[in-house]
């Protein structure tokens, strides 16, 4: 089973062995890039179909179920839909508004897609399977790259010369900036406890065995559990997913900052959004859910990359489920949630992580309830205050 676990690593080494020594470093880089460029857009293509099918089922309608393999009668339950979508977006006319800032309008999709691919390259998708391993600064690289996508949102929104685009861009940037702080603070607990910014080291620390059968995932600790929930919420907002999809709220802003994009540029925005969602899910898996490690020691025989991608699929389905379930927040609720609820909770979580660190020699049965209580009490207080804001809404015309 070890050979199956390392099959891609050995495959790459075998291909490299066929090539002359001088081109090996270059070829190694190219192989890693090709793998990322093939696998994640592949998942993206399938996700678009699965999302539409599942949303259809949530809304009590069938969803896409016709398109199969082109030129045959095979339907594949509609899973050929993404091929049709791809051909459509490639052949559609590329409309650029007359007043648009042509250069900035042209560059914006690339500024979104390139960092999204770069962010995927630091994820350890399996044992010895990280394309880029920054041993000192892996997580920092991810956040830096994530921050760079904000400028693309601005470029797209501003250059279109369209009110909806600009409003969407403004909302998007305000949301991304606000939620970046809880995102970074909640992952800081993990960095604090592991003592390393390297994503590979963070996963390896979580492969230690705890209580006999469990792997030592961070989500099994009070600070890890709270951190995971905070990270997940912030990740949802960073990826512009429902309930935080204000920047591209269809019912208010058409498509938000990429309203004025058509054809393949629109597809690139679409791709960039989903790649961003995959990347942030991947980091959540790496930080809190043990990366490529199995939940139980007796499941260690399953290949590590299968665990990572299985968890990733779980995250994607979870996000689709959220989209089909939750209503959209208002702007003030969005900001209140970030600054008045999540930020204090993240800071308290840092303290709890410190307590957890200094009580390392205590019994787990005392330590766990202590940490949970330290988090539950502020949660109760903050959420009560937060909830009261939701209830004092007065309607002017609808009451």
């Amino acid at each position: 089973m070890a050979s199956l676990d390392q099959i891609f690593v050995t495959l790459k080494a075998w291909v490299l062995g066929l090539l002359p020594e001088t081109v090996q470093p270059f070829a190694g880089v190219m192989i890693s890039i090709s793998a990322i460029m093939a696998v994640f857009p592949g998942i993206f293509a399938l996700t678009t179909v699965v999302e539409r099918k599942l949303l259809g089922r949530f809304q009590n309608r069938p969803g896409p179920n016709r398109v199969g393999i082109p030129l045959t009668k095979i339907r594949l339950a509609g899973f050929g839909q993404f091929i049709a979508d791809g051909i459509k977006s490639l052949t559609k006319e590329d409309v650029v508004p007359r007043n648009a800032d042509k250069v900035v309008h042209f560059i914006a999709p690339f500024v979104l897609v390139v960092p999204s691919f770069l962010a995927l390259s630091v994820l350890p998708v399996g044992r010895n399977m990280a394309a880029l391993n920054f041993t000192e600064t892996g997580l920092l690289f991810f956040f830096a790259i994530g921050a760079a996508t904000e400028i693309s949102v601005f470029m797209a929104g501003w250059s279109s010369r369209n009110k909806y685009s600009l409003l969407g861009a403004m909302r998007g940037i305000a949301q991304m900036l606000s939620y970046e702080i809880p995102l970074i603070l909640s992952s800081l607990t993990v960095v604090m406890m592991v003592g390393s910014l390297s994503l590979v080291t963070i996963v390896e620390k979580q492969t230690a065995v705890q209580w006999g059968v469990f792997h030592n995932w961070h989500v099994f600790t009070p600070w890890g559990f709270a951190g995971f929930l905070l990270f997940l919420t912030a990740a949802c907002a960073e990826a512009n997913r429902t309930p935080f999809d204000l920047p591209e709220a269809e019912s208010e802003l058409i498509a938000g900052y990429f309203t004025e994009y058509s054809g393949f540029k629109f597809a690139l925005f679409f791709l960039g959004e989903y790649l961003g969602m995959f990347a942030i899910s991947g980091v959540a898996i790496t930080l809190f859910l043990g990366g490529w490690s199995a939940p139980f020691t007796f499941l260690d025989w399953v290949p590590s990359w299968l665990w990572f991608f299985g968890k990733l699929v779980g995250f994607i389905l979870f996000f689709i489920w959220l989209r089909g379930t939750l209503p959209r927040l208002k702007v003030d609720q969005l900001m209140n949630l970030a600054w008045k609820f999540m930020l204090p909770m993240c800071l308290i979580n840092l303290v709890v992580a410190g307590v957890w660190h200094y009580t390392a020699d205590w019994n787990d049965l005392i330590r766990w309830p202590l940490g949970a209580a330290l988090l539950a009490l502020p949660y109760w207080i903050f959420s009560r205050r937060f909830e009261s804001r939701f209830q004092t809404r007065t309607y002017r015309y609808a009451s």
């Binding site: 800032d101 900035v104 920054f134 000192e136 600064t137 920092l140 690289f141 956040f143 830096a144 790259i145 994530g146 921050a147 760079a148 904000e150 400028i151 601005f154 470029m155 501003w158 940037i173 900036l177 970046e180 003592g195 910014l197 007065t394 002017r396 009451s399």
Partner: protein, 175 residues
């Protein structure tokens, strides 16, 4: 001078020149962003990963956005009608003065003398950066934090006064 350095330096300087000479303010700030990215890549070229990623996180992720927002909120972002008076000699004088001060400060810095003279890149783990920051330099760090908090409070005070000047129409209880 390696090829990589030449490309990156060209990118940085070219973007900086474009940021100075372009007419549209938003274009200028976007070019300034490219220049900041070029600087980060130069740090990366020198093997300073931490500085490079912090540069991108802080300058591209926050400062560039701030500049762009400031431009958008204060003026429309359209190209100004007339040619802006450059004041060539004043500008040159200020630039030279800034360069001279920085060069003097960096040249006289004790950190430069502590570096080994050979060309080997000193390995600086992120852990050491953190140790220095909350160990030796904890007081400057706190002072900067205080300064930033004061600036933020000031911004809030300015915003509040404006709200007092134009009171909202009373639509609290329409019934």
């Amino acid at each position: 001078m390696t090829l990589a350095f030449a490309i990156l330096a060209g990118l940085t300087v070219g973007a900086a020149i474009a940021a100075m000479t372009l007419r549209n303010l938003v274009h200028c700030s976007l070019c300034a962003t490219v220049s900041l990215v070029g600087l980060a890549l130069l740090y990366l070229n020198l093997g300073a990963e931490f500085a490079a990623f912090v540069q991108i996180l802080v300058y591209v992720g926050a400062v560039a956005i701030l500049i762009v927002f400031a431009v958008l909120l204060t003026r429309s972002g359209e190209a100004p009608a007339g040619r802006v008076s450059y004041g060539l000699w004043t500008g040159l004088g200020v630039a030279l003065a800034v360069f001279g001060t920085l060069a003097w400060a960096i040249g006289g810095s004790s950190a430069l003398k502590a570096l080994p003279k050979d060309s080997a890149v000193p390995a600086l783990p992120v852990k050491d950066v953190g140790d220095k920051l909350v160990g030796d330099f904890v007081l400057p760090l706190q002072v900067i934090a205080l300064l930033l908090t004061a600036a933020m409070l000031g911004a809030i005070v300015i915003a509040m006064r404006e709200a007092k000047g134009n009171p909202q129409p009373a639509t609290r209880n329409p019934q």
